[in-house]
């Protein structure tokens, strides 16, 4: 029984113009408990929506079809069986400003694990240490902590749930780069040591290359490439993936010219026909404008592109 299997997942939102598909026929797997799956894409690609769909946090004006099997249980059919923790980007918004950190974490132990208050407090102290926070954090309020510390609190809360799956949605995007590095190191180490599978959502391919084991690239609601991370970087297949890799400035080398992808990422409801990347693709053929490519399966990768069919 693998930790996560997403089958034919679609997410639609109801807008003034009717139903709009934001996540389109996504199939993903996490094969082992110590695997981190990276989900990479730009704004509007649906990666955050996918994360919300898996964790059951979509707003009421949405519709989900397909299956999300967490340890064999379909959480779309049985929402109450979900044991999925989410780590959001904005820690200040995710934390209750009038409760201490200790109260908020202990609450999880008391309600989800049915513990006595005393035991909950003990566990709280332990998990705070695990994420690298000092003991006295228990009595602090969210606004008294720094951004990095708050994010660690979110990680601690996720761990407290003892979840079957963690979804981290751009958990460090709002932090300074030095703080980000430290927090991510902590995150990676705790999920690996506790053997909790994680979906790591980010727009930063470089981060994904360091944090994730496998990477799925999303564009316009679809997965357009999935590969083991070494494979993805050594042999990127989809033109979008290649373009992404070459359009980002680097700290470790001088780049003469960044690769420019013309145009802008499309918005749900206005996706192009055929291959959704075709208007921006330097290799677009006539076929690409009319027919949607399916996933082509290689040894360590899958691509959605006619160049490979």
């Amino acid at each position: 029984m693998i930790p996560l299997e997403i089958r034919n997942l679609n997410v639609d939102f109801r807008t003034l113009r009717g139903w709009v598909r934001v996540v389109d026929n996504v199939n993903l797997k996490i094969n082992s408990d110590d695997e981190i799956l990276g989900l990479v894409g730009e704004s509007g690609c649906g990666k955050s929506t996918l994360g919300l769909a898996v964790s059951g946090l979509l707003p009421p004006n949405s519709r989900v079809t397909g299956e999300v099997l967490v340890k064999g249980q379909d959480v779309v059919q049985n929402p109450d069986s979900r044991k999925i923790a989410v780590i959001f980007q904005d820690a200040l918004a995710a934390l209750n400003p009038v409760l201490t950190i200790g109260e908020q974490i202990a609450e999880i132990y008391v309600y989800h694990k049915n513990m006595q208050k005393k035991d909950a407090l003990e566990k709280t102290k332990k998990v705070l240490v695990e994420v690298g926070l000092p003991d006295n954090t228990i009595d602090k309020y969210p606004h008294q902590l720094s951004g990095g510390q708050r994010q660690r609190v979110l990680i601690a809360m996720a761990l407290a749930m003892e979840p079957d799956l963690i979804i981290a949605d751009e958990p460090t995007t709002a932090l300074d780069v030095t703080v980000q590095a430290k927090v991510l190191q902590t995150l990676m180490s705790v999920v690996k040591s506790r053997k909790i599978p994680m979906i790591y959502i980010t727009h930063d391919l470089a981060l994904a290359s360091q944090v994730a084991d496998r990477i799925a690239v999303m564009y316009a609601g679809q997965i357009i490439e999935i590969a083991d991370k070494y494979e993805l970087f050594e042999n990127p297949r989809h033109p979008y993936t290649k373009a992404l890799l070459n359009s980002v400035p680097r700290v470790d080398r001088d780049i003469e010219e960044l690769f420019i992808i013309e145009g802008e990422p499309p918005v749900p409801g206005n996706f192009p026909t055929g291959c959704r990347f075709h208007p921006r693709c330097p290799f677009a053929m006539d076929k690409c404008k009319q027919i949607e490519p399916g996933l082509v399966i290689f040894n360590k990768a899958m691509v959605r592109c006619f160049l490979y069919e």
Binding site: R14, L16, P59, P60, N61
Partner: protein
């Protein structure tokens, strides 16, 4: 969330519709009466003193009766409609413009000027409106214009505070900083960038204040500090008519009903507009 939006949206529009309907009906009737009435609103007639629905000496019907001086009530009420509403409009215009300017200056310039203006506003607001209006009107002398002046003064703080609050928050917008960066003068920034964002809420507030203004003037007139005889004005008519409530109940009652319906119409419209423009509704755009 969507369904709730649409329901409240619908209710708001309905309110506006009914309010407008009522208001137009009242306005139209009053207009027609004024155009075609054979009676002069101030001409007294010994012959027709305090008569209910009946006929005058020349054969024209007193549809709502006459008052204690023999003047046709319907004609007077139609006159009063336009007078009171007109007075209300004058008041909200004067107090609105002054309050708007004070609020803009106060919020935009800040500093000591802001403190001074706001303290004056605080003083005005801390005294119950009607009492203050009485005090001012009494000090100035009993006349309709003085009543207008008094009510206008009392209404200024509401606008000043509202506008100032809005200016303070709009001022923080990046596009205001950008305008300053582009070399635009402070005055132009106030007019071109800040004012347009203030206007919708300001106008909504003003339209809601209209009924208030009318009520205040009618109230002042009722106690003798506003309109004076022979001016046809709701408050005055109700005040004088009070004495005759046993013999000629129509004299105080009809003005009351008339005023009530008019204020109701304005309130419906104002509430409808306010609900329609409710910030929670901004989700739709």
């Amino acid at each position: 969330m969507h369904r709730v939006e649409r329901i409240s949206n619908f209710l708001a529009i309905r309110r506006i519709k009914y309010g407008l309907l009522l208001l137009s009906a009242l306005a139209l009737i009053s207009l027609l009466v004024l155009l075609f009435s054979p009676f002069d609103p101030t001409e007294t007639s010994y012959y027709s003193l305090a008569k209910p629905l009946s006929t005058s000496s020349r054969g024209w019907p007193f549809i709502l009766g006459t008052d204690s001086l023999g003047r046709d009530l319907l004609t007077r009420l139609s006159y009063a409609f336009y007078l009171d509403v007109g007075v209300g409009l004058v008041i909200i215009t004067i107090s609105g413009l002054i309050g708007l300017s004070l609020g803009l200056i106060s919020g935009f310039i800040g500093g000591i000027l802001d403190s001074v203006i706001m303290r004056i506003m605080d003083i005005l607001i801390s005294i119950p409106g009607f009492i203050l209006a009485i005090a001012i009107a009494a000090a100035l002398g009993s006349s309709l214009w003085n009543a207008i002046f008094a009510v206008a003064i009392v209404s200024i703080p509401i606008y000043a505070r509202l506008v100032r609050g809005m200016v303070l928050s709009i001022k923080e917008n990046l596009f205001v900083t950008a305008a300053y960066e582009a070399g635009v003068s402070s005055f132009r920034i106030m007019i071109k960038h800040i004012l347009p964002h203030v206007m919708p809420i300001f106008i909504t507030q003003a339209s809601m204040e209209l009924s208030n203004a009318i009520l205040y003037v009618a109230g002042l007139s009722f106690i003798g500090l506003g309109a004076q005889e022979p001016t046809p004005e709701w408050g005055l008519m109700m005040s004088v008519g009070r004495k005759y409530i046993r013999e000629a109940w129509w004299y105080p009652v009809f003005p009351g009903i008339h005023m009530f319906l008019t204020i109701l119409a304005f309130n419906l419209i104002g509430d409808g507009i306010r609900d329609y423009l409710d910030p929670k509704r901004k989700l739709r755009s």
